[in-house]
């Protein structure tokens, strides 16, 4: 898709900054979530597609930049269809593998071949069903793009003993961000490799520290095996540490990588983004959300989701020569709507 530079209607000196904000409330979402979950159970899962759309609409619709909110337009039937196909394939997989375990290799091959298509398709489905104001997003990534970004770079990282892992990360970010457009205006980010390497080094240091923390309880109890209770205790302490690490560390690192990607991102020529997520704060939110959710048997799950969305929105802002809400762009040329429909008929949401 061609990038059409924005023609700024205002004088270049004027700069408008709009912060993102999330206006949903935990109480309101709790009722929506619980009623939809009950309906999902009563309908043996069929309603889950509708529940998903309502949930997404609630979060998108309450996320504002300036005067406009985002919105999610996917049809629940399309999501149900995607799930039905996925479930059908899973059943065929189990049946064929049960009959002849030798077919397993064939399935792996098939999976690798279709994975880029699944990624591309899901991203396009999500983008085309998302709007800001009355303008939709679009995704122009290709099959080969996904194959390169997700498989080739990952493979290369494995071959180079993970020394190129940050570059694989960058390839994924480029594929996902630089193929997106808002209306006919493209997103573009340029991530400095050096800064990404620095973040990954922090991650590596954290992993080493975490491994020591996980092994420590075993080391502290030399004859633990003789006493089941202290053995159970050290296993418990270790497992807890593992959960903390598995959950908090990705949140910590992804806060930094998200900042890096968004702070270097622009929409068209003139709109710049800023993201000031705090890594400790994100790790804390994710961890305390988990504790709150588990301790209340899931009752605080809606509160946890709202809390996370509210914090993330509060850290993101857009600056441009004019109010971003006033971007003039026509997405669908008159008469082009049918072609769009046909093209997206094969796009399904597989929940990737």
């Amino acid at each position: 898709m061609d990038t059409i530079p924005l023609t700024a209607p205002l004088a270049p000196a004027a700069s408008v900054r709009n912060a993102m904000r999330f206006e949903g409330s935990a109480g309101e979402y709790f009722k929506i979530w619980i009623v939809n979950t009950a309906l999902t159970i009563v309908t043996l899962g069929i309603f889950s597609a509708w529940a998903k759309v309502r949930s997404k609409r609630y979060f998108y619709g309450n996320t504002y930049i300036g005067s406009h909110a985002f919105d999610y337009h996917a049809s629940p039937l399309r999501i149900l269809l995607g799930r039905a196909i996925a479930l059908g394939l899973l059943l065929i997989y189990f049946l064929t593998v049960a009959i002849s375990p030798k077919l397993l290799g064939l399935w792996y091959l098939l999976f690798i071949v279709t994975l880029p298509w699944l990624i591309k398709s899901s991203l396009r489905f999500a983008a085309r069903n998302t709007s800001y104001g009355n303008v939709r997003f679009d995704f122009a990534g290709t099959y080969w793009g996904a194959l390169t970004a997700f498989l080739f770079w990952q493979l290369l990282a494995t071959i180079t003993l993970f020394s190129t892992l940050p570059l694989a990360h960058r390839a994924r970010d480029y594929y996902m961000i630089n193929n997106h457009s808002f209306g006919q205006v493209a997103f573009k980010t340029t991530i400095p490799a050096g800064k990404l390497y620095k973040i990954y080094l922090v991650g590596l240091a954290l992993i080493i520290g975490a491994l020591i923390a996980i092994m420590l309880p075993y080391g502290l109890m030399p004859n633990a095996k003789a006493h089941e209770v202290s053995w159970a205790l050290s296993v418990g302490v270790s497992s807890l540490t593992t959960i903390v690490v598995v959950l908090a560390m990705p949140a910590f690192i992804s806060a930094m990588t998200t900042n890096l990607a968004l702070n270097n991102m622009q929409l068209g020529e003139s709109f710049k983004f800023e993201s000031t997520l705090s890594p400790d704060r994100m790790a804390w939110i994710v961890l305390s959300n988990l504790v709150a959710t588990v301790a209340t048997f899931g009752l605080l799950y809606p509160w946890a989701r709202v809390r996370r969305a509210r914090y993330m929105a509060s850290c993101i802002a857009v600056t441009g020569p004019s109010d971003i809400g006033n971007i003039q762009s026509r997405l669908i040329p008159p008469g082009g709507a049918v072609g769009e429909e046909v093209a997206s008929f094969f796009d399904l949401d597989f929940g990737l």
């Binding site: 929506i32 619980i34 009950a38 619709g61 009355n134 303008v135 089941e228 588990v294 762009s329 929940g351």
Partner: protein, 341 residues
């Protein structure tokens, strides 16, 4: 004439202007008027897509040409366009219904945990072809043999004696001797133990064989493991372990890492609860088989108590709700009072 106040968006654009919406004079069309009275959009009502009400979100009326009328006046939309209000939103706003939903979910979850998972796992285990469980057993043994399972060091005579007992007990079972086989292994790291693998192979460690004081005790252990094979408990626990997270992901629609981690603890506790049921079932089957053939299941109880004393001391092995087996005292008591068939 009732009309709603909101914003008009030009087709496919974020260009917006204050506008109002009303039902046209013909009673069938919807019209959007600008603040100066210009007609900005108009279409038959059935061609206008009206988003369903959701929380306090602004309502959107999407016209066929791509123009949108947006308003925060949810009640106004519901009143003006009866039949579009969406009963779902009414349900979502009531606290009484939220509480009812909570009860439905709790009942559904309880049913699923007590009946759904065991039933589903039992069915899937029964449908699993022998070739698959043989493959899984091969993989398991491959991973353990030479590492934590070493060749047996029992004298040949003792090995033959144990295999004889094994054949005798297997002969008592309905499925006959061909269904099971016994592997003797030395396992210094595992200690006294015996376990059944999915395809009917049963492993007994030398350490266990050295702890028994008479052959009736061995009979009890073997009958217990054969019961695990009969009920396909091995495959059942594989399926149980995957059913719980899959169901939670399906119902919450959230397959994220967060959701998966949130269910680890409940899943582990559930898994050991299911496992304790399996152990009890295997004990009951073994006791009834032994009694049928005039042997005393109480001997197995003696053996279990001796095992516990050795591995955990006099204080016992910690809380039973965490363990994969019921408390030894309970198992022993149940074995001793097992009713004659």
């Amino acid at each position: 004439m009732m009309q709603l106040i909101g914003l008009h968006f030009a087709p496919g654009s974020n260009h917006q202007a204050e506008a109002s919406l009303r039902i046209a004079a013909d009673g069938k069309s919807l019209e959007v008027l600008g603040s100066n009275g210009d007609l900005l959009a108009s279409a038959p009502r059935r061609h206008v897509t009206i988003t369903s009400r959701l929380g306090g979100l602004r309502r959107k009326l999407e016209f066929p040409d791509g123009a949108v009328f947006e308003t925060a006046d949810n009640d106004g939309v519901d009143a003006l366009l009866k039949g579009y209000s969406g009963s779902l939103s009414r349900l979502e706003r009531s606290w009484q219904l939220a509480v009812t939903s909570l009860l439905v979910i709790a009942a559904g979850a309880a049913w699923f945990i007590y009946y759904g998972v065991p039933l589903g796992a039992r069915w899937m285990a029964a449908e699993t072809p022998l070739s698959l469980s043989r493959m899984i057993t091969n993989q398991t043994l491959l991973a353990m043999d030479g590492k934590i399972l070493l060749p047996t060091t029992l004298p040949l005579k003792r090995q033959r004696e144990i295999q004889d007992r094994f054949r005798t007990i297997a002969g008592w079972e309905d499925r006959g001797t061909g269904r099971y086989s016994l592997l003797l292994r030395s396992a210094p790291h595992i200690g006294p133990n015996a376990f059944a693998l999915p395809d009917g192979r049963i492993v007994m460690t030398d350490q266990l064989a050295l702890m028994v004081q008479n052959n009736i005790e061995i009979d009890g252990v073997l009958a217990h493991e054969m019961a695990h094979v009969n009920h396909a408990h091995g495959m059942q626990s594989v399926y149980q372990a995957s059913l719980v997270p899959a169901a939670i992901a399906f119902i919450t629609g959230d397959a994220s890492q967060f959701a998966q981690l949130a269910v680890i603890l409940p899943a582990v506790l559930l898994q050991s609860a299911y496992s304790r049921n399996f152990e009890q079932q295997a004990d009951d089957d073994a006791a009834s088989l032994l009694r049928q053939h005039g042997e005393d299941p109480g001997q197995m109880a003696n053996f279990l108590e001796r095992m516990e004393l050795k591995s955990c001391g006099k204080t016992g092995c910690g809380p039973s709700w965490l363990g994969s087996h019921p408390a030894t005292a309970i198992r022993a008591a149940r074995l001793r009072r097992a009713p004659a068939p």
